[in-house]
């Protein structure tokens, strides 16, 4: 069963602003990156999936349910982390997440247990008894994630979860989301305007722009053919290129670099062997993954 399926989904706000235009996409369970610039329609799509906004036109299914007619069933199985600040400063994280667990229909003791579990999973321990008002941005984001997790949803909708975090905080948040998607068995939709960020953790990417679908595909299908090894030697670049060509490895020049398509692990050995035979000073050898960004780039790619 598809995780999310939309068909000709259109949303036009009063005043004629079109947020989604004829969006048709089918997404399988896993970690899904929903990328697009600000105003591309990501938040509108999430609100429609939660049944908070009615679509102007078209169909939408979340976990096989229609959020326009069965919003409560959908919301019972979905956890939502909004983009903006969403925590009462005077309550402790433990108290607040427990309360929201109960609003999701958990019995009192279960809500308390699951709240402290959820907070532990996101990395909040003793701090959870302090008022949220004194938390750092990173801790607040974690509490927002914990409240989305407390009622054990089948799908998490995360709207810009790395907003306002420093680089270390971003990495930690992305690692956490990756863990939820892989170890917890919960599907995740991560909204972001930063493609480079979500592509690291996603199985599937959905890119929208101006409310239209740019591309939706599994990420391995987007990047598998484009992995290359970059080799740099201080001297003898020509000789190495000739030697590698002789080994029937597809080689291209890119400035001082040699780019070799990575077939399998043997490619490394072949290159290292060639460098050693020619006795060249190897400067670097690393795998260069094509940024998915280039697949969506509207401008002409600057180089390969």
């Amino acid at each position: 069963m598809a995780l999310i399926a939309t068909e000709s989904l259109t949303k036009t706000y009063r005043g004629g602003v079109t947020a989604l235009a004829d969006l048709t996409v089918v997404v399988e369970p896993g970690i899904v990156g929903l990328v697009g610039a600000n105003g591309a329609g990501k938040s509108t799509l999430i609100k429609i999936m939660l049944g908070l906004l009615p679509p102007t036109n078209g169909q939408v299914r979340v976990l096989g349910l229609d959020p326009t007619t069965q919003p409560d069933q959908v919301r019972a199985r979905v956890g939502y982390m909004p983009e903006h600040e969403a925590l009462p400063p005077d309550l402790s994280a433990a108290e607040f997440v427990t309360h929201l667990g109960r609003v999701s229909g958990l019995p009192r003791t279960v809500a308390r247990e699951r709240a402290s579990e959820a907070l532990r999973h996101v990395g909040l321990y003793e701090e959870r008894y302090r008022p949220v008002g004194g938390y750092s941005t990173g801790m607040k984001q974690r509490v927002k994630l914990a409240q989305a997790l407390v009622h054990d949803p089948d799908l998490l909708l995360l709207d810009e979860p790395t907003n306002g975090l420093d680089p270390a905080g971003r990495d930690a948040m992305l690692a956490l989301i990756h863990r939820i998607g892989t170890e917890f068995g919960i599907s995740v939709v991560v909204c972001s305007h930063l493609l480079g960020e979500v592509e690291r953790i996603c199985d599937t990417l959905v890119a929208i722009d101006g409310g239209r679908l740019l591309r939706a595909d599994r990420i391995d299908a987007m990047t598998s053919a484009t992995d290359v090894l970059a080799v740099e030697v201080s001297e003898g670049t020509e000789e190495l290129a000739a030697r590698l060509s002789a080994l029937r490895l597809p080689v291209r020049r890119d400035g001082r670099l040699l780019l070799v398509e990575l077939a399998d692990d043997d490619t490394y050995d072949q290159i290292l062997g060639a460098v050693a035979e020619l006795d060249l000073p190897l400067h670097r050898l690393d795998q260069r993954r094509h940024r998915v960004a280039e697949l969506f780039a509207t401008r002409e790619p600057s180089h390969v």
Binding site: K47, L50, L52, L53, P71, D72, Q73, R75, A76, V78, Y80, P82, H84, E85, A86, L87, P88, P89, D90, L91, S92, E95, H99, L100, R102, V103, S104, G105, L106, P107, R108, T109, V110, E113, R114, E117, H121, P131, Q147, H151, D152, I180, E183, F184, G185
Partner: protein
Amino acid sequence: MSESTGVIHDIGYQRYMGPRLGRAPVFGALYLHGLRTVFGFGRSAKAKIFPWLVVGIVIVVAAVVAAVRSQIGQVVITYAQFADTMSWLIIFFVAVAAPELVSRDLRSGVLPLYFSRPLARSDYPLAKLLALVTALWLLLGGPQLVMFLGAAFTLGEGPRGVWNELLDLLPGLLYAGLWAAVFGAIGLLIAALTGKRAFAAGGIVAVFLMTTPIVGILAILPSQTINELAFLASPMTMVNGVGTWALGDLLFEGGDGLPIGGFGPLYALAAVLLVAGCVVLLLARYRKVATR
């Protein structure tokens, strides 16, 4: 749920297979949370100061009244009069409690977290309203219970005396319920309009303050009908009017209640319409807020 092995270890993420409760228990959870919020439970010590100060005042007043009555046998204020006497204190209490209940959530952006859950849109404001009305009723009814206990067990009139006291107490509690409903509905509606607690508190006090002089002006106009209807202009005097009509002697000894003439039923109807109107507007407000 929890492991009873006595060893702490990471058991990883656990899926929840147990029951998920329906609408009524969820409404109950929201309601109880609201009631706790009003009295500052589960929150900082600072949040407890004002509500418990007010609770302290009304209890002390009730205890003094009960003590005076048991010592010198004089009824200083009746059960029903207690609510009227405390009205300004209750207004300040509403002005603090209602913004705590709803303005805070508006400001901190918590509402999307509620409305993305399986919660009927109307349940959120209704649970908050019920919590506020309950709190106000407890605030007015609790001290009456203190007065009742004081009177029933110190006057020494036996079971008959206790029964008579109870017959006086019940209308007093009903009247307190009317106060609670009217003040709660108006207060919560005003608070739901703004996320700024100070504005909400000011607005609530202003509505009760500003309407009082209108009553004064209408009451001296040279028309008996207008004079008799004047008390509709302010929520406080409107509730008074309903009390005069419905409770009469229990509320005002010797029949010196508000001069509302024969318009008693109209006052009752107006009070019901006022509360109903506030609830309708409150629900409309949250229908709009929920989609943001």
